[in-house]
Symmetry: C2
Subunit: 203 residues, 2 copies
């Protein structure tokens, strides 16, 4: 998830964007369980009746919020900044781990874990999170396939390795938000060792 | 998490055990969000007043339930069944993935994800889940250290690799319970590839 300042203008004109920003702020402040439309309204500069006009329920608003976050995220992860596939993977994972560990985003990250756990019993949440997963997985898969073509990576099953990498990111996010002593520095270091031993071609 | 039949006697005498069994059944049936002491009582053969006598709140009961599950789990994961460290890891992961993918446990697994997500804003849940994590991590670390001593594994940082393996299991569990299309067969296969490329000594 990108930083708040990368996601929103400081004073958005567009109503939907203003609602999304208020939702982000209310989620960061109250978490999912204590979130109400009223509390989103408290973060909202325009008329609160607009919220009720646009959304039937808190959960309908949140599903739209998840879709919005996905749109905005596309492009903010710097997977393209390096030429060689192994460097692109490392730059991308550095970015993701920095966001997971960013103290300023702690409350928001915890709220996202709560939201995702709602997927356990809510199909529309589950579908939206699955779309997010598939988006990241296909981006990672593209990079691995490129690495194979560049002769940097071994001829692995790129889809299978991408599934594993997305699973690791999810496990790290889950741990960061639900453990008293997440050791994510160890996981980040081991991720490099995994990429090196499993992907890098020795020749 | 072990199977229900491995965890509980069919008709437990002990009051705490009977409460734990009722909690397991109520969680499987209703999930966390819709769980009430009343609903746990509905699964309970003895006097419901016992529940209120033993626990102040639903969450106090659930923290005790998590501790109980950890006690019972110790020993049910068949990490000891093989002699060679790499086989012991594989047998253990086969067992864990079979539990994650077990259709009969789907509702219970989802409830556990919801419970774990509560840790995002509840310290006593977070501490109990962290204890569970540390228990598994130390078991896995022991096996890796043994593998190094047996000359089967490379001289890796066993704690770091154990952190990664626990992170992968958590990510897989999270995905199985919150995604519409978790590809855990791919993750299980890739886990073997990771162990082979990262841990197995070529000599």
């Amino acid at each position: 998830m990108p930083k708040r300042t990368d996601l929103f203008e400081s004073d958005p004109d567009d109503t939907r964007e203003a609602i999304m920003k208020a939702t982000y702020d209310a989620l960061s402040k109250h978490g999912y369980a204590d979130l109400t439309i009223q509390r989103i309204g408290d973060e909202f500069d325009k008329s609160k009746s607009l919220l009720y006009h646009h959304y039937d329920s808190k959960d309908a608003l949140l599903v739209d919020f998840l879709g919005f976050m996905l749109e905005r995220m596309e492009g903010t992860i710097p997977l393209e900044e390096a030429a060689a596939a192994d460097d692109r993977l490392r730059v991308g994972f550095d970015h993701v781990f920095a966001e997971i560990l960013d103290g300023d985003r702690e409350q928001f990250n915890r709220a996202m874990t709560e939201l995702r756990a709602q997927s356990a019993h809510d199909d529309s949440f589950r579908e939206q999170f699955t779309r997010n997963d598939r988006y990241f997985e296909s981006r990672v898969q593209d990079i691995i396939e490129e690495g194979i073509q560049q002769g940097i990576f071994r001829e692995v099953d790129a889809e299978q390795v991408a599934s594993m990498l997305v699973t690791i990111i999810q496990g790290a996010t889950f741990q960061a938000t639900t453990s008293t002593e997440p050791d994510l520095d160890a996981v980040r270091t081991e991720l490099d060792a995994y990429i090196e031993s499993r992907l890098l071609d020795d020749d």
